[in-house]
């Protein structure tokens, strides 16, 4: 009985630590600045106002949103197409150099991403891709982990169905497109979630890929707002409203695909 009480006390304490800040964020986004300064501990505004959100709109927020959508959609599509094709080739097709290619992909996965910031900037400059949408998108499409996930998935699919398609006279690409890909739905959804969330939330790679404010995404646009390059002082309601708004799409994905996301984490240790 004591154990059980302790357990629930611990749970409640952690729930406060994890849930209360989120509630504070939501509440403060609808406060006036003076209200936020006077009552930092209350998640409920004295007067509900949307001034923070209208102020955000004047800060080019909609443009950042549009840019984030463009980047996330193209990165996600690119990874889905390229990673699943390469994953299938590595799992199923026999060709000379396949083993070496797979080893290279594993090695690439070990490169720490933060080390790539300066190198990526250098190459984008050299290719005249700096300050362009492709320059922000292509480095994020480059993703060995997605290839690995897809390959591991295709290895688990029994080859019988493909053989049947082959016997029916379907070519390799026909088989891949109309037989293999539809079976890969769970893996594709996992990859889609990872890619969308990763590119929507990415800050550092987007940061080094552009300098023009018109290319700012939500992360770099709001990031400027916070690190003091835009706006002055601590405009808590404005900043927290920005944090709240940029989190909404990820939250929707999280709740819709919760089942897949929990499995994603669990898949990491399967081996």
């Amino acid at each position: 009985m004591v154990n059980r009480t302790l357990l629930y006390l611990a749970l409640a304490a952690f729930a406060v630590i994890y849930v209360y800040p989120v509630l504070l964020d939501i509440g403060t986004a609808f406060k006036t600045e003076s209200d936020a300064a006077a009552h930092p501990l209350s998640p409920i505004p004295q007067h509900w106002v949307v001034t923070a959100f209208t102020a955000l709109e004047q800060q080019d927020f909609l443009r950042w949103l549009a840019n984030s959508v463009v980047v996330a959609v193209f990165v996600t599509l690119g990874r889905l197409v390229f990673d699943s094709m390469a994953g299938y080739a590595l799992a199923r097709l026999r060709f000379r150099g396949r083993g070496g290619l797979f080893a290279a992909i594993i090695a690439v996965m070990a490169v720490p991403s933060v080390v790539l910031l300066i190198p990526t900037f250098l190459v984008l400059k050299e290719l005249n891709l700096f300050n362009t949408y492709p320059g922000m998108i292509l480095p994020l499409v480059t993703d060995a982990a997605g290839v690995f996930i897809m390959r591991q998935f295709f290895l688990t699919v029994p080859p019988g169905i493909e053989e049947a398609a082959k016997i029916d006279g379907a070519g390799i690409f026909r088989t891949y497109w109309s037989v293999v890909l539809p079976m890969a739905r769970p893996a594709l959804i996992t990859l889609m979630i990872l890619s969308f969330q990763g590119s929507w939330n990415n800050f550092s790679m987007i940061l080094v890929a552009h300098s023009s404010p018109s290319l700012d995404t939500l992360t770099t646009g709001v990031g400027r707002l916070v690190s003091g390059q835009l706006g002055a002082g601590s405009q808590y309601p404005l900043q927290l409203a920005a944090a709240l708004a940029m989190t909404v799409p990820v939250a929707i994905i999280f709740f819709v695909f919760q089942k897949y996301i929990m499995r994603t984490g669990e898949g990491a240790i399967k081996e």
Partner: protein
């Protein structure tokens, strides 16, 4: 049997002589190889252009005197050998001192974040995995959700919590205390503790000698008060991610083992120490490795919350490398810092692998 061998093995399927005579693309084997390369081609090109080439370019820049103007391959750019690395590692001066400070700051960050987030993740996973627990799904969601959100949103939240007139200081104020100016306080917590014990000046032996341009006394400063705020953010955000890695490992523990231990009279702590923990060892090492690699890469939060301030006590190698290149236009040095960090992470990963395999070998024998 032969079918199996043919499917998985690298061997040629027997092609009929007639088809083979018409060239490689007309054999089933040739078509398959061509399709394999074709389907891998986009990924190969992307990896070459946006991973291999950039690293090679940065390696060149790190041994050059490129100043950020024009192409690093232009004729005015010269090779300077290991000069950038020397300035960082062996020559006394500001670059060496900044690298030393950033390594110290990041070291304290790692030493605190990795054990605490691992323990917290394990604790949360153990609680959430209990079968008879009301609201299991709710708790799991609440702990995991921060992992899904962007570093920008979480940084904003923690700037609010740790602000001078922020949430935490309001709580401290309610208890009659006065909180520090968290993000403006460069004092190291170990120095603060020592000064509480009456030690305010450094003993000469520690003040006059040092490593990488930082005196031993300053190496022992501990994380600054400002860094504590960033450490809190890291733990809060990542514990949920790693909880998700522990969960399936916990579910995989057969319940009859724990029941047997209970029947043998083991109490909860003994069951955890002698039964649960040994079975979670693979997950534990995975979490420690991932934690170690990611904590040495902290960048976003530093950029967003402190820009390395106050007094350079939240500078990290990743952020220093960015600052040196993009702000000071010392591209050679900035790239060199990135490679030093790369080497550090690789060495740490290898050392950890060795420790794991040694332990495994030890248990096997």
């Amino acid at each position: 049997m032969t079918v199996l061998v043919r499917r998985d093995g690298p061997r040629n399927p027997p092609a009929t002589g007639r088809i083979r005579a018409r060239g490689p693309l007309f054999t089933a084997r040739g078509r398959e190889a061509a399709a394999g390369w074709l389907m891998s081609a986009p990924v190969i090109v992307l990896l070459l252009v946006f991973l291999v080439a950039p690293i090679a370019m940065a390696a060149w820049v790190s041994v050059s005197d490129w100043n950020g103007i024009g192409s690093p391959f232009a004729s005015g750019v010269h090779a300077v050998g290991g000069q950038n690395y020397k300035a960082l590692l062996t020559q006394p001066g500001l670059p060496q001192q900044q690298l030393g400070e950033s390594l110290r700051n990041n070291l304290y960050y790692v030493i605190i974040v990795v054990p605490v987030q691992t323990a917290l993740a394990l604790g949360l996973a153990l609680i959430v995995s209990r079968k008879r627990l009301a609201g299991r799904g709710f708790f799991r969601t609440a702990y995991y959700f921060p992992s899904m959100t962007s570093s920008v949103a979480v940084s904003i939240l923690f700037l609010y919590i740790f602000g001078t007139a922020g949430v935490l200081n309001a709580i401290i104020g309610d208890f009659g205390g006065q909180g520090p100016n968290w993000l403006d306080d460069p004092n190291g917590v170990l120095h603060i503790v020592l000064s509480g014990l009456g030690v305010t000046t450094a003993p000469g032996a520690l003040a006059n000698h040092g490593f990488l341009g930082v005196s031993w006394w300053d190496w022992l400063a501990g994380p600054s008060v400002a860094m504590i705020a960033i450490i809190a953010l890291a733990i809060w955000t990542t514990a949920g991610t790693f909880m998700l890695i522990f969960l399936p490992a916990i579910y995989a523990i057969p319940s009859d083992i724990t029941e047997a231990a209970t029947m043998d009279g083991a109490n909860a702590w003994q069951r955890f120490r002698k039964v649960t923990l040994p079975m979670l060892r693979p997950a534990l090492f995975l979490v420690l490795t991932l934690g170690l690699v990611s904590t040495w890469q902290v960048f976003d939060q530093i950029y967003l919350m402190s820009q390395g301030n106050p007094a350079g006590t939240t500078l990290t190698p990743a952020f220093l490398s960015y600052l040196t290149s993009f702000q000071d236009q010392q591209w050679g040095q900035g790239a060199a810092i990135a490679f030093i960090l790369f080497a550090l992470i690789v060495v740490l990963t290898i050392v950890q692998r060795l420790i794991i395999s040694e332990r495994r070998a030890g248990r096997a024998s």
